[in-house]
């Protein structure tokens, strides 16, 4: 080796890799127990109040490209440093796969830009195999996780309403905001179809939980990071308030390469590349907790080869990287003529939908698929950004002016009038569904490729099955019916079988989980039911990796609950001197 790996003399109680939902929750819980922690994050610090980083309440003209996505996938104002493509960190594909891997390199990771949709998994979601014979059951049930969901609700905050629906458990809810006009149009349409539509469940503070975080002021910009911390980000809801206790030492811009083990195969720490000086270092700890994201944690384990673990660490089952699965997605847009020429008022609201539709079809048979999806809705008189006003000709042809003129295209005063009359009259539908985890969908180390830090990269192999395709068909058929029922017009062409009904590419919904799944059988799972590696008793994974399946619910709330549960278990096991 051309350079010396620098070892820190100090040994921490716990080394945590990653500062997103799982890592932040573990850091908070373990620090509260008085443990000394090294927290490693592959990106820079992030503070939503720092003028150099703040994007909240910026106007489109403050960006020369008016917020377009030239350097950030979701636009200039989105708070994600990273994206599906990071120049220094490539990944590759196998057998024609096209898995898209989104990463955020910053304190708080992907919790800084996510939709804050905070849904508990229901009892059925842990036991789906009992229901449809596909995939596997979790080794734990809703009752094991429920007490932690309760604690997460009260610590972090989520609004919603108690609905008493069988597989959509209620929680400790703050009051939800009133819906907006377009949401009432959708509501009246879906209720007629026998489809539910209820207040959404988002982790935004409509009331205060303490004096540190302020209440929401309705700018609709949670994806930009909040100056008053009214929404959840691991950075400002978990890590920054815990830092003052002095138990956590942060390692920023630290790209972890592998877990270091001793001659007995137990974890002794991790090695990382400091992106600032491009040198490799080692941090030592009694316990190692991986929270680098499902795919990154799998990558670290697979790259941690030693004599005791020739196959990569915690991988005697050969299951590390297997069963990676993302949510499905499909969408549609509509024009509602009754929403044209609207009265103007501020309807920004919270940073997401105020109403949503949970899955309603558990008791029905469906054509070609067995698992459900929820529907997210968007629309309203939003702030313009790059792309606003594109394709006006496609709208003008749909609804004639008073004089009957609907000639698409044009210019001048007439164009300006069209922009004004159509403003706020379009809305969108997005289905987010559960896929069936597959053994043959996996990520592995590409032996031929390294990233800029010399670390071998991941190679993805992923194919949707017919279940996901047919579920997407059900989505677009349902959206079309909702739109017709509300007197709307479908915008664009409805995707058919040739486009898999608009089914998104795997990874595009950014819910990939399952790479280090938990189970009772060490031959078919990587972790036990406490997210502890079967093979290495002082190694834990607390990101989306442990998921056996992920329901149609966004994974973050379950990552938080499971991380808290695992952290309690670590404290207990250290006390009992079992690890």
């Amino acid at each position: 080796m051309a350079f010396q790996i620098k070892e820190q003399g100090k040994e921490y109680d716990v080394v945590i890799v990653g500062s997103g939902a799982g890592g932040g929750m573990a850091a908070k819980t373990l620090s509260d127990a008085g443990l000394k922690i090294a927290l490693l994050e592959a990106g820079p610090d992030f503070d939503s109040t720092d003028p150099a980083q703040r994007t909240q309440l910026r106007w489109p003209w403050e960006s020369p490209r008016r917020g377009a996505g030239s350097t950030r996938a979701f636009g200039d104002f989105d708070m994600a440093y990273g994206g599906w493509n990071i120049e220094d960190e490539p990944y590759t594909q196998k057998d024609g796969s096209n898995f898209r891997w989104f990463r955020s390199r910053m304190l708080g990771g992907r919790t800084n830009h996510w939709g804050r949709i905070s849904l508990r998994f229901g009892p059925l979601d842990f036991k789906r195999k009992d229901y449809d014979g596909k995939g596997d059951n979790w080794p734990i049930s809703y009752d094991d996780v429920a007490p932690y969901y309760d604690k997460v609700d009260q610590l972090i905050g989520v609004f919603g309403t108690k609905e008493n629906m069988p597989n959509e458990p209620d929680g400790y809810f703050l009051p939800p905001p009133k819906p907006r006009l377009h949401e009432l149009y959708v509501r009246d349409s879906v209720l007629k179809m026998g489809i539910p539509m209820i207040p959404s469940r988002l982790s935004m503070l409509t009331k205060k939980l303490d004096d540190r975080r302020g209440p929401c002021f309705f700018c609709s910009q949670c994806s930009r990071g909040c100056m008053v911390y009214a929404d959840f980000s691991s950075a400002y809801s978990l890590i920054q308030p815990t830092m003052t206790d002095g138990n956590i030492e942060m390692y920023l811009n630290a790209m972890v390469r592998e877990v270091i083990t001793d001659e007995n195969g137990r974890a002794t720490g991790v090695s990382y590349i400091n992106k600032e000086d491009m040198k490799e270092y080692v941090v030592k700890g009694k316990v190692v907790v991986l929270a680098a994201s499902a795919a990154s944690s799998a990558r670290i384990l697979l790259n941690s080869k030693s004599r005791a673990h020739p196959n990569g660490l915690a991988n005697s089952s050969n299951h590390v990287g297997r069963y990676i699965h993302d949510s499905t997605g499909s969408g549609m847009m509509a024009l509602i003529p009754e929403l044209m020429d609207r009265q103007r008022y501020n309807e920004d609201g919270v940073g997401g939908m105020h109403l949503y539709t949970p899955w309603w079809g558990n008791d029905q048979k469906h054509d070609g698929f067995t698992r459900g999806y929820h529907i997210e809705y968007w629309g309203g008189m939003g702030m313009p950004a790059y792309g606003f006003g594109f394709g006006m000709e496609n709208l003008s042809r749909l609804v004639p002016r008073e004089n009957g003129d609907n000639r698409p295209g044009g210019y001048g005063k007439r164009l300006k009038e069209d922009v004004r009359r159509f403003y706020g009259s379009t809305l969108g539908f997005a289905g987010r569904g559960e896929s069936i985890p597959q053994y043959d969908n996996y990520c592995e180390i590409d032996p031929n490729t390294v990233d800029s830090y010399g670390i071998p990269v991941l190679r993805f192999h992923y194919k949707w099955t017919n279940d996901e395709v047919m579920q997407a068909k059900h989505m677009v058929d349902t959206f079309e019916e909702i739109i017709h029922n509300m007197g709307g017009i479908v915008l664009g062409e409805k995707p058919g079988p040739e486009r898999q009904y608009g089914l998104t590419k795997p990874g595009e919904i950014i819910h990939e989980v399952g790479t280090t799944r938990m189970g009772n059988d060490k031959n078919t799972s990587v972790l036990n039911k406490y997210c502890q590696a079967h093979d290495v008793d002082n190694l834990f994974v607390v990101d989306g990796g442990p998921f056996v399946s992920q329901a149609d619910k966004n994974p973050t709330w379950t990552i938080l609950a499971l991380s808290w549960r695992t952290s309690d278990y670590i404290v207990d096991q250290l006390k009992k001197q079992n690890i």
Binding site: W61, P64, D76, Y172, P176, L181, Y185, F390
Partner: protein, 245 residues
């Protein structure tokens, strides 16, 4: 590391490679070379290159990229003048708001084609097409035609459903530049005031105004009315005692 040092690292490091693809002139990649002229170009568009994070939360790598783009010039004076004429045909001043050039739309277009290089050839070629057609019909370039002559040509390419085969390329260009002019206009203060967007500020959302509910015949359902947030209670700390699941 100060900003100059950061830029130097970025320029010699991995970030430099992305500029090769966008046709950047390496002479402009000298670290810290933000001239007064570039700062002023930024200010024309509402961007403050002197502010921390360029005033809109840029990372050091993103700042380096912005500065690179501001140091380049894509359109020549003739092209810029033609864009200005077209922009004001597409978005003229009316009784509600000003024109595209009032909102500095040509400057936005100059920036965006550098930011998104795939616009460059269609835009440059489209302007050439327009001058060619103007010369063919009137023996003058487009910007020197009188208004009536300009509109004669624009009418042949502005309505995509009714375009003669020989004008298809021109129509395609016109649709593109209409998109850029419209988006460039409605993302400025002038455009947003024209539109009547009144958000992007702290407020206390308390539902759809009553007269709007009545007009659209959309009302909140009784079963939810008492469960929604009461904005006056936002500052209270939630008390979970007595909360039952």
């Amino acid at each position: 590391m100060d900003r100059r040092e950061t830029l130097k690292t970025l320029v010699v490091g991995s970030f430099a490679s992305s500029f090769v693809l966008t046709g950047c002139n390496p002479d402009h990649m000298e670290p810290g070379a933000v001239s007064e002229e570039e700062v002023n170009l930024g200010k024309d568009l509402g961007v403050d290159l002197d502010a921390p994070g360029h005033g809109y939360g840029r990372t050091p790598a993103e700042q380096a990229r912005d500065e690179m783009l501001f140091s380049q010039t894509f359109f020549n004076d003739h092209e810029m003048a033609t864009i200005a004429v077209l922009a004001d045909i597409i978005i003229p001043a009316d009784e509600v708001s000003g024109s595209a050039t009032d909102a500095k739309v040509p400057e936005f277009i100059e920036f965006i084609v550098k930011d998104m290089p795939y616009h460059q050839i269609p835009m440059r070629g489209g302007l050439m097409w327009l001058d060619h057609e103007s010369n063919r019909r009137f023996d003058k370039v487009f910007k020197d035609l009188n208004e009536e002559q300009q509109i004669e040509i624009v009418d042949d390419i502005a309505y995509p459903d009714d375009v003669a085969p020989e004008y298809q390329a021109g129509a395609r260009f016109f649709s593109n530049i209409r998109n850029l002019v419209t988006t460039g206009f409605y993302t400025t203060r002038i455009g947003i005031d024209d539109l009547g967007y009144v958000g992007n500020q702290p407020n206390a959302w308390d539902g759809i105004p009553e007269e709007v509910q009545k007009k659209h015949n959309k009302f909140y359902r009784d079963e939810y009315k008492d469960r929604f947030l009461k904005p006056e209670e936002r500052e209270e700390i939630e008390d979970w005692s007595g909360y039952e699941l």
